[in-house]
C-alpha cells in the first residue's frame, strides 16, 4: 500500500556530457503518459465542488498535465469517480470503465467513492473498488484540493514506476486525531 511521503522524484532522462540522453523505452513512455492524463469526470455528488476547485486556476490541475476533460470514456486515461455511487449506478460505472482504452487508471475521489463513507445501507455501493479496480484513493469528506493534488502526484509516481498496487493518500493533518488527542488531554487533566 503506497502512501505519498515525498514529492515525485523519478527522472527518466539523464543527460550526459556527450549531449546524448539514454533511457529505457518503457520509462520514456511512462514519463510521457504521466504528464498527459486525459480525465473522464464521473461526478455524482458534493465532492464535485472540491473537484471544481482543484480544476480551477487557484489550484490549477493543468500544471500537472491533467486538465483536459474528455466526456467520452474512449478518449480518456484516468477515471475520476467523484462522489457517492449508488447500487443502481454501479453497472453504469462498470460499463464506463470497460469502455476506456488501455492504459487506464481510476481515482476514487472522496470517502464515499473510496469506501462508502458514512453510507452503510441498501442504496449505496460501499466503495467503488468492489466494482472497478482503483489506483489511488483520496479519502476526505470532501478532500481538500491539496489532498487531490497529492493523489494526482501519487498516481503520476505510480505511472512512472509502473506500480499497479493501489495507494491511499494520507491526510497531512487528520482531524479525527485531533479529537483523540483532545480527549486524552481532558482525561489526563481530570486525573
Amino acid at each position: 500500500m503506497g502512501e505519498l511521503t515525498k514529492p515525485t522524484s523519478s527522472r527518466v532522462i539523464q543527460a550526459g556530457e556527450s549531449g546524448f540522453a539514454t533511457t529505457k523505452f518503457n520509462e520514456l513512455l511512462a514519463w510521457a503518459r504521466k504528464y498527459s492524463l486525459f480525465q473522464y469526470p464521473f461526478v455524482t455528488a458534493c465532492c464535485a465542488m472540491e473537484f471544481m476547485a482543484t480544476a480551477s486556476p487557484r489550484y490549477d490541475v493543468a500544471r500537472f498535465g491533467a486538465e483536459a476533460p474528455r466526456f467520452t470514456p474512449r478518449q480518456s486515461d484516468v477515471l475520476w469517480v467523484v462522489g457517492t455511487i449508488s447500487q443502481r449506478q454501479a453497472p453504469i460505472l462498470k460499463r464506463v470503465y470497460e469502455q476506456m482504452t488501455e492504459p487506464k487508471w481510476v481515482i476514487a475521489f472522496g470517502t464515499c467513492a473510496s469506501c462508502g463513507g458514512f453510507y452503510d445501507n441498501y442504496a449505496t455501493l460501499a466503495g467503488i473498488d468492489k466494482v472497478v479496480p482503483v489506483d489511488v484513493y483520496i479519502p476526505g469528506c470532501p478532500p481538500r484540493p491539496e489532498a487531490v493534488l497529492d493523489g494526482l502526484l501519487l498516481l503520476q509516481d505510480k505511472i512512472a514506476s509502473m506500480d499497479t498496487t493501489p495507494g491511499v493518500v494520507k491526510p497531512r493533518h487528520d482531524p479525527a486525531q485531533n479529537l483523540v488527542n483532545l480527549r486524552r488531554k481532558t482525561e489526563d487533566s481530570a486525573g
Partner: protein, 194 residues
C-alpha cells in the same frame, strides 16, 4: 383556522370515516378510514371552505408493533386560504398483507411520484395509479427497504463484487480505529437474519 377544518370533516363524514382527530402546536391531523381515502381527499380539494389545492407530501410509515402495520400520510395545503392539514390512514395487517389504498393521482396529479416512492419503499399499492412501479430503486430489488424488518445492512448489488487484496474496507475518518465509530457493523441488530 385549520381547527375549523377538522370540525368540518367530522361533521361531514362522521366518526366511522374520520376515526379521530388531533392537533399539536398548530398541526392538525385527521386519521381516516382507508376505504374512504379518495372520497375525503376529493372533498378537501373541492369544498369552498377547504380548497386544498396543493398536495405537499405523501409518504408511508411502518408501525411494526401494530396490528395494522403500514400507514399512509398526506400533507395538504391551501394556497388560497393559507391553511394546512395532515391526513393519515392505516393499511395492511401485521404482515403487510393487503396494503392497498386508493391512489390520489385523480385528485392531485402531483401524487404520482410520491405514490411511486411510497410503493418503492414500503410496498403499499395504490389502486388507480397510472404507472405504479419503482422510482428510486431498480426493478431487480427484492423487498421494501424502509420497512422495519428489512435488514439495515443488506445490499442487493446489480454487478458481482470484486474480491481480492486491493478491495479495501472503511478508510479514515470512517474506520473503527479513528475514534469515530460510524460503522454499525458491531451492532447485533445489523446482522442479517438467515
Amino acid at each position: 383556522m385549520a381547527k375549523k377544518l377538522l370540525d368540518i370533516l367530522s361533521e361531514r363524514f362522521g366518526s366511522s370515516i374520520v376515526l379521530s382527530t388531533h392537533d399539536q402546536c398548530g398541526d392538525e391531523t385527521a386519521v381516516l378510514d382507508a376505504a374512504h381515502w379518495r372520497e375525503v381527499a376529493t372533498f378537501l380539494r373541492d369544498d369552498p371552505r377547504c380548497k386544498m389545492n396543493m398536495l405537499v407530501d405523501l409518504c408511508g410509515v411502518d408501525h411494526i408493533w401494530d396490528s395494522q402495520r403500514l400507514e399512509v400520510v398526506a400533507h395538504l395545503n391551501s394556497l388560497e386560504l393559507g391553511h394546512r392539514l395532515r391526513i393519515k390512514a392505516r393499511v395492511g395487517d401485521e404482515d403487510c398483507e393487503g396494503a392497498v389504498i386508493d391512489s390520489l393521482v385523480p385528485v392531485w396529479v402531483g401524487a404520482n411520484w410520491f405514490e411511486r416512492e411510497t410503493f418503492d419503499m414500503f410496498g403499499i399499492r395504490f389502486e388507480g395509479h397510472p404507472d405504479l412501479r419503482r422510482i428510486l430503486l431498480y426493478e431487480e430489488f427484492e423487498g421494501h427497504p424502509l420497512r422495519k424488518d428489512y435488514p439495515a445492512a443488506k445490499t442487493q448489488p446489480l454487478v458481482p463484487y470484486r474480491e481480492g487484496p486491493d478491495v479495501l474496507g472503511k478508510l479514515p475518518p470512517f474506520g473503527p480505529d479513528e475514534g469515530m465509530v460510524f460503522g454499525r457493523k458491531h451492532l447485533d441488530y445489523m446482522k442479517e437474519e438467515d
